[in-house]
Point group: C2
Chain length 415, copies 2
């Protein structure tokens, strides 16, 4: 029996308190989600990659504790069913409400709209090959050659407790409670098969995938350094760019990943205190852009193309070590990745009294080497390195989307 | 020179990149905040107490590191000026943009609306009397008799790293980036005088202060146990109830606190995993309410008055140890507090793989003993204790509001 979040309320109310529906009808108009609040779940690619970036994020990785391949398959089937329902704004499907059993849905999103929820799943290298080299679930032969743990990279000092995981879940929504509810319910469904490893909430998106043409209503969002981020990001409707840079083609070696992607997650701590003491001109030189407008230092408007050849009295107008120069497709043989990062904070670093905050970087690409190439360059030379450090990391192979109600995440991998 | 967030953009754009205003005008319509987005800063009481509860919270406490009373006064003046501007959706005031100096505002809220931001400040007992009993800033004689650190209470296991503080700042807004921006900028302004002690983000409100009459548009929000919370909370427009239970009267002993209040902050960890495994009927018995409708077990609709005398075949319909019974004014001599709590999560508890999540409880009252009385009862007898623990705590005296541009937080205390 499936219940919408709204009908869940009325359904239980009917069983226990006949008049409750009346009070609810007067109090929860936001529960009537507009059609535009729902992102399609099924499709050739998982939602939550090219989807216009939602405002908030809940991210969680899991380690598989079961040794049974059948358990993993069952988990992925159950997760797919639950995620599809939650994406529509419905409750996690289950038996009709019964006060003798635990509810099938934890309930904190009851009455809330779908809020453009997407749930996106990826598999870590450790799902294919255990730390002892074992073929844990008979998947070792299905591991793409390119899919190996990220090498040690410059600019990082990784916390193992905030890195890795056998499976990753990215839930994005315009309502943080809806995003949290999604990962929490998958964690609940997974108990006995998986255990949560680490999690991060992102309170503000730092990338748009809408570009200048179709226009994110809020404009390009700003990161915690106060700069617009993702101005030149891949636009989610640019199919040619997505095919070239983001979606894995069948030809990449393993058919099950065709239409999928690779996700690199990096927890990037920003040293906001010294940054805040830096003068505006230096901040702008670090990025290579004006802080207010987001225009490149060689331009006037945000979406002006940077002119990396332009020189002034002191040398290049966009400095040699400016972030946008080093990261640019022009200076990396056309290399691009799709970013959908979020600002995070985890309170105060008690040892220093400084903010534990920064960028939770999420990027999708057709080959993990795209990120490795960029970070080798950025981690070595980027002027931004004085103010950031990569402190958490994960790499995940993201299977393609599901085709309909009988399909499930990773079916082709496990078939 | 003061700049609105919108004009900040255009102002700097005019200095550095003449065409940027055009691109911004097309991309950031949300920056044009509607008048209803702004909560009045000045008034007899600080905003953020009786104000209709905003969706998101950023909370931070600070310890004063300076030994100078003049530094504390200067800090409070600067904070008041900055908070008033941010509340209007303006940038932190400062000198005109100059690339030779750090910006006066960190910038991540540029282009965002005011989003009903309120910033509320309170003083801890430790500001009046140091741990060694010293009169740190000549305030010891101004400390109200009722304002002593909370005693040890049942149901708590407090982490000192998430408790206390000389000064607390509560920023609430419908946009979490606006709330975070506010506390971050106060922390920045305070450097050299204060150091941040602990912080918490609240991602979803769990209390309404709007009651059934004027109706919160989203209905009564739900906590992470999936239950509606705050159904019988004090309504923010009920002046009689606020006077009786929330605002400190001059007669309470110290005139400087008249029109102010006391804030009790408690980080309440929920053990969501065992809760999620509990059957629906037991969950409802724990609270004394139906989960879906929020109606008391003796009623049909959320706002029906609970009937604590009603009995069924098994005894009281609302059990003797039900949360709402033990916390109710009817069973505590009419005692009430104003709650404006938020759900929080801080990721995964690595030792157990469980969610570190729960309720960040904020409550305002005219005497700290209101909370002590309730928690002595709840911490001992509440059926909810099986599923929660108080793990962080703070008590703060919240001065009254400011009367206008020349006033500042705590002026009467320091005069």
């Amino acid at each position: 029996m499936e219940l919408s979040r709204r009908r869940l309320l009325q359904g239980i109310a009917g069983a226990g308190a006949a008049g409750a529906g009346l009070a609810l009808a007067g109090c929860a108009p936001s529960a009537a989600a507009a059609p535009t609040d729902v992102v399609d779940f099924h499709g050739p690619h998982q939602a939550g990659i090219a989807t216009a970036v939602q405002d908030r994020l809940a991210f969680m990785t899991f380690d598989v504790t079961s040794t049974s391949r059948a358990d993993v398959v069952e988990l992925l089937k159950s997760w797919t069913t639950a995620a599809e329902a939650m994406t529509r704004g419905a409750a996690v499907p289950g038996a009709p409400p019964d006060d003798q059993v635990p509810p099938a849905d934890t309930g904190e999103a009851a009455g809330l709209p779908a809020a453009r929820l997407t749930v996106t799943v990826g598999f870590g290298p450790s799902l294919f090959t255990g730390p002892d080299g074992s073929d844990r679930f008979g998947l070792a032969a299905r591991r793409p050659a390119a899919f190996v743990p990220l090498p040690a990279l410059p600019g990082e000092l990784l916390d193992p407790a905030r890195s890795g995981g056998d499976i990753a879940v990215q839930a994005c929504s315009d309502d943080p409670q809806v995003a949290f509810h999604a990962v929490r319910n998958l964690a609940r469904i997974g108990r006995g098969t998986v255990v949560a490893r680490w999690a991060e909430l992102g309170f503000g998106k730092t990338s748009s995938t809408q570009g200048s043409a179709d226009g994110d209503p809020g404009g390009t969002p700003r990161n915690l350094m106060g700069f617009k981020d993702g101005t030149r990001n891949i636009v989610g409707t640019d199919d040619a760019a997505l095919d070239q840079h983001v979606w894995v083609a069948d030809a990449d070696g393993q058919g099950w990943l065709g239409g999928g992607s690779y996700l690199v997650a990096r927890r990037i701590r920003m040293f906001v205190e010294p940054w805040d003491r830096d003068r505006l001109g230096d901040q702008e030189a670090v990025f290579g852009r004006f802080k207010d407008s987001g225009a490149p230092l060689t331009g006037k408007a945000e979406f002006d193309a940077p002119d990396y050849a332009a020189t002034g009295a002191d040398g290049p107008v966009i400095p040699a070590n400016a972030h946008i120069r080093l990261a640019s497709p022009e200076n990396n043989g056309g290399l691009r990745i799709l970013r959908r990062g979020y600002s995070y904070t985890d309170g105060i670093d008690a040892t220093t009294g400084t903010l534990d905050a920064g960028l939770f970087f999420l990027a999708y690409m057709r080959d993990p080497n795209q990120f490795v190439t960029l970070q080798r360059k950025l981690g070595t030379s980027d002027a931004l390195n004085e103010y950031i450090r990569h402190v958490g990391s994960g790499l995940f192979a993201v299977p393609p989307g599901t085709s309909g109600p009988d399909d499930w995440w990773g079916r082709a991998l496990f078939s």
